[in-house]
């Protein structure tokens, strides 16, 4: 097979993902601009010879993280670079990482789409309609906060009411009633399962009954 330049291979790669070349932007910048659905996608390519240039890698990453002109940005780098980079840096900035060599192109870290930075000129054109919209949004936000506070209060009252009749609850729905005692002190970094919101595979599962009898049937 003929070995194509990396720019061309990446173009095929993104076309296969369903992206379209962004002709407007490509004419102004590099050939690494695409449109993926509604999003714009930019890929910066580091070549093997770039790795020998001092600070080239860090400059490229910094430029991708600070001057985001596309919603989705990728850094394509020789596979060799993979051993020296910390994935956390890319994830923290939502930058995708593609590692390549002569034979393969691997998307090691998927990019997180963000809102592209709008050009300064559009910021200057804020008109009164926009200001009005912001004001009404602010009012809606305050209203929503008030509702949330009300809901929290209602929920607290309901929990107090239910904990005062544990006997009845335990007879009717033993495993769920039991769970509720835990929720009064949410302990985990992962969010606890809400009462009655057990995963779907628990619904009508006969094994819950079968397994809960383990040990007792043998006796």
């Amino acid at each position: 097979m003929v070995s194509l330049p990396i720019e061309e291979r990446l173009r095929h790669y993104f076309l296969a993902m369903g992206a379209q070349p962004d002709l407007d932007r490509n004419s102004q910048q590099s050939a690494g601009d695409f449109r993926l659905g509604q999003d714009t996608l930019h890929v910066s390519i580091l070549k093997p010879q770039d790795l020998a240039i001092r600070n080239r890698v860090i400059e490229t990453v910094l430029s991708l993280s600070t001057q985001r002109t596309a919603q989705i940005v990728y850094l394509a780098a020789p596979r060799l670079l993979g051993a020296t980079m910390d994935a956390g840096i890319f994830r923290a900035h939502g930058i995708g990482l593609i590692l390549y060599d002569d034979r393969r192109i691997d998307e090691t870290i998927t990019a997180q789409p963000v809102q592209a930075v709008a050009p300064q000129s559009t910021v200057a054109n804020t008109d009164s309609a926009l200001v009005g919209e912001f004001t009404s949004l602010k009012a809606m936000y305050r209203e929503m906060e008030r509702h949330l506070a009300q809901l929290r209060e209602d929920m607290r009252m309901m929990q107090n009411a239910r904990s005062s009749e544990p006997q009845i609850e335990q007879q009717q729905r033993p495993h769920l009633a039991a769970r509720e005692t835990i929720f009064s002190s949410p302990p985990m970094t992962t969010s606890p399962v809400e009462p009655g919101a057990l995963p779907s595979y628990f619904n009508n599962n006969p094994w819950l009954d079968v397994l809960s009898r383990r040990g007792s049937s043998e006796n």
Partner: protein, 423 residues
């Protein structure tokens, strides 16, 4: 039903699959975290490692690709411990990967301090053919690396977990992975004495795909495992009846033409007039006994052999219908009709689709198994794919950990119960 309230938040499941490691506590809900079931042993002598790394001996999880070096190193340094569902007793490298993955899984869901946490109830699941030493070794891993994170641990076989996750208490589960397949009848307990293991899995379908690629002039691609797997998944079909399917495809090669373009490359595979061979890929998984496969065996493709691993003999050439019948007939006669009533297929090796307009000649996995059972004289069978093939084992483990009473202690005879580690 009495349930330990504590386990409403602190049940943790780990599914050691052939390719993926699925893990997480009950609070994950429907979907666990997934990483590849593999570990990378970096070259500590390399300049790169010395210059930049202070990482551990074994790298697992999402960061593995960051450490990969040359392709030549992969075969020795990248270890998939459960590739065949079993790990040799003395394979320390593979056990180190399992140990690192288990610690990694628990570390990823470390609860906040001072919240009443006294350790997880961990349910790990292994292949049903895992010998006893694998249970012992896994238990030891949790015991030796326990820093108060595990209160009790248990290990259950994957087909048993599938049946639990699917909510069926009497059934036959067929789990087919990369290296082998297992037929396991369940009747409230796994019926271990009736298990049948096959030395055939997704890897064998890859092998015949590779031969087909060679025969069609794509020898350069036939050794690239990832490409071969993609070709298998995209052009392989399961025939209703192999002879009929081949005849039809030879008569109308355009209708059955098998073409596949590898994404991101210029490589396009077109079997053209040999497109009839796409039916061999699916047939070989379910039944490798057709005479046409002899020509591949005679040209060097390894015939699936009967092998003994641990205490289990893995049959090479048994078709799936015969395997199910053999397994069920080892159970009491009264139970047999109930077992045939529900046959569950689980594992990536059963993910076969039927392209539009080919419904008369190609079938999905449940239909093929039904046809093979019909050939064995078994009718009125219900064969289903598991509802969530990827996560059904993990779901089953969570339910098991949530429901089994805390005082049901581990027993080495029945291989069930809780092994208490702390608290």
């Amino acid at each position: 039903m009495t349930v330990d309230t504590y386990r409403g938040n602190y049940t943790f499941a780990m599914d050691f699959g052939t390719s993926d490691f699925k893990f997480g506590p009950i609070t994950c809900g429907e979907n666990p975290r997934i990483v590849n079931n593999r570990g990378y042993f970096p070259d500590k002598k390399s300049v790169m490692y010395k210059a930049f790394e202070s990482a551990s001996d074994v790298i697992v999880g999402e960061d593995v690709p960051m450490y990969l070096q040359s392709a030549e190193d992969l075969s020795s340094r990248l270890v998939y411990p459960m590739r065949n569902g079993m790990i040799d007793k003395g394979d320390d490298q593979a056990w180190r990967v399992v140990s690192t993955l288990a610690s990694f899984g628990l570390r990823e869901f470390k609860p906040q301090p001072h919240n009443g946490f006294k350790g997880y109830y961990v349910v790990a699941s292994l292949s049903s053919v895992s010998p006893r030493y694998m249970y012992e070794r896994l238990m030891n891993i949790f015991r030796e690396n326990n820093h108060g994170q595990v209160r009790a641990v248990t290990v259950i076989p994957q087909p048993f977990a599938v049946a639990i996750g699917h909510g069926v208490t009497t059934c036959v589960v067929i789990e087919s992975g990369h290296g082998n397949s297992q037929v396991c009848p369940i009747s409230k307990y796994p019926i271990r004495a009736a298990q049948v293991a096959l030395n055939r899995g997704g890897g064998d379908a890859n092998a015949i795909t590779s031969e087909i690629l060679k025969d069609s002039g794509y020898s350069d691609l036939a050794n690239e495992e990832a490409v071969v797997r993609k070709v298998k998944e995209n052009i392989g079909l399961v025939p209703t009846q192999l002879d009929y399917a081949m005849d039809e495809a030879k008569k109308s090669p355009r209708k059955y033409r098998a073409k596949y373009k590898v994404p991101g490359t210029r490589v396009e595979i077109d079997l053209d007039k040999d497109s009839w061979s796409r039916f061999l890929i699916g047939e070989y998984v379910f039944n490798p006994n057709h005479e046409i496969f002899e020509s591949y065996f005679s040209r060097g493709m390894p015939r699936p052999k009967d092998v003994k691993m641990g205490d289990t003999i893995f049959k090479g050439m048994l078709d799936f219908g015969e395997a199910i019948v053999t397994s069920v007939e080892r159970c009491p006669v009264e139970l047999q009709p109930l077992l045939y009533r529900e046959v569950l297929l689980s594992g990536g090796n059963f993910s076969w689709t039927v392209p539009p307009k080919l419904e008369d000649i190609a079938v999905d996995a449940p239909t093929k198994v039904r046809l093979l059972l019909r050939d064995q004289g078994i009718k009125n069978v219900s064969v289903k794919m598991t509802q969530s093939p990827q996560f059904s084992v993990w779901h089953g483990c969570i339910i098991y950990g949530f429901a089994v009473p805390d005082n049901y202690e581990w027993d080495w005879q029945r291989l069930e119960g809780w092994m208490k580690l702390s608290g």
